[in-house]
C-alpha cells in the first residue's frame, strides 16, 4: 500500500537521496508517494509527520496537496488516477503555483461584553420581551461578524490571489478564512495582519501558515 502526499510537476527537482518517497510520473505530472504505514489510526503525530513531508516538498517545487489518507494498492493504481484526471490536476496546480495558504481567524476579544448580558439585563428590567432580546442579540452578532469581515478580510484579500471564508465555529469566532498568497507577498500579508491587530484591540486575529494550498486544491 502506498500513500499519495501531493501532485507536482514532472520533470522537477530530484528528491533527496535518502528519501523514502517515490515519484509516480505520468506526462507532465508526478505523484509523490510513500509506503503506507501499518498504523491505521489518525493521530496528531501522524498528521504533523505527513504535513512535514508535504512542506519539505514545498521548499523547492510547486505542490498540489492531496487529502490525508489517500491510499492506493500500488503505484500503477496511483498512476491511473493521474492519467485520468491529469488535466484537472494540471489546472489546479497552475492555480496554486508559487503560492501558499495562510489561515486567519477573527475572534471577538475577551474585553468585549457578550451581547447576552446586556439583553438579559433589559429583559430582567421588563424593558423588552425575551423574543425581542434574542433577535437583537442575533443582530449584534451579525453586525460584529460583518464588521470583522470588512475591517480584516478586505485588506487581506487585497494582498491575496484568492480566498475562502466562512463563519467561525468557536464561541466568539467572527470569521474563519484561508488566503492563497503568492510566496513573495507573504511578508506583506503578515505585516498587514500585524497592523490590523494593533488597530483593532477588541479583536483577536490569529494567523497560521504557510500551509500547502489545501483549501484551493479542489476549487
Amino acid at each position: 500500500m502506498i500513500d499519495l502526499y501531493a501532485i507536482t510537476d514532472h520533470p522537477g527537482p530530484a528528491l533527496p537521496d535518502a528519501t523514502p518517497l517515490r515519484l509516480v510520473a505520468r506526462g507532465s505530472l508526478a505523484g509523490v508517494c510513500g509506503a503506507a504505514g501499518a498504523e491505521e489510526a489518525v493521530t496528531p503525530e501522524g498528521l504533523w509527520r505527513h504535513e512535514r513531508i508535504v512542506e519539505d516538498l514545498m521548499q523547492n517545487r510547486d505542490v498540489l496537496p492531496v487529502r490525508y489518507g489517500t491510499r492506493f494498492p500500488d503505484e500503477s493504481a496511483a498512476g491511473r488516477v493521474l492519467e485520468e484526471r491529469g488535466e484537472q490536476f494540471a489546472a489546479a496546480l497552475d492555480r496554486v503555483r508559487g503560492a501558499v495558504e495562510l489561515a486567519v481567524r477573527v475572534i471577538s476579544g475577551p474585553g468585549v461584553p457578550p451581547p447576552a448580558d446586556d439583553e438579559a439585563t433589559a429583559v430582567g428590567a421588563g424593558e423588552v420581551g425575551a423574543g425581542t432580546a434574542y433577535l437583537r442579540a442575533r443582530q449584534r452578532e451579525k453586525a460584529a461578524s460583518s464588521e470583522a469581515a470588512n475591517v480584516v478580510h478586505q485588506p487581506l484579500s487585497a494582498v491575496a490571489r484568492d480566498h475562502v471564508t466562512g463563519p467561525g465555529t468557536l464561541p466568539g469566532e467572527l470569521l474563519r478564512a484561508a488566503y492563497l498568497v503568492s510566496a513573495d507577498a507573504v511578508a506583506t500579508f503578515t505585516a498587514t495582519v500585524g497592523r490590523l491587530q494593533v488597530e483593532h484591540r477588541g479583536l483577536l486575529i490569529t494567523c497560521t501558515g504557510p500551509w500547502p494550498a489545501y483549501s484551493f486544491a479542489q476549487r
Binding site: L47, Y68, G69
Partner: protein
C-alpha cells in the same frame, strides 16, 4: 514556547486542511480516512439503505421532533 491553546488552534488549522482540504480521490482506492461527505459519497448508499432500515425499525423517532 507555545501554550496549549496555541498548540490546539494550530492543530485544528492542520486538521481542517489535511482532513477537509486537498485533492480528493474516490474510487478504487482504500482510504485510511474518509470525510463524512454524505452528498458526495454516501448519500446514494444511505438512501438505498433507508428502506431496509425502516423495515428493521432502526430509524430514530423523528415524527414529533418539531
Amino acid at each position: 514556547m507555545t501554550t496549549v491553546a496555541e498548540q490546539d488552534v494550530a492543530l485544528i488549522d492542520l486538521i481542517d486542511r489535511l482532513l477537509g482540504g486537498g485533492v480528493v480521490i474516490f474510487g478504487d482506492i482504500t482510504l485510511a480516512v474518509a470525510d463524512v461527505d454524505l452528498v458526495y459519497v454516501g448519500l446514494r448508499a444511505l438512501i438505498a439503505s433507508v428502506a431496509t432500515a425502516r423495515e428493521k425499525n432502526m430509524l430514530p423517532e423523528m415524527g414529533d421532533a418539531l
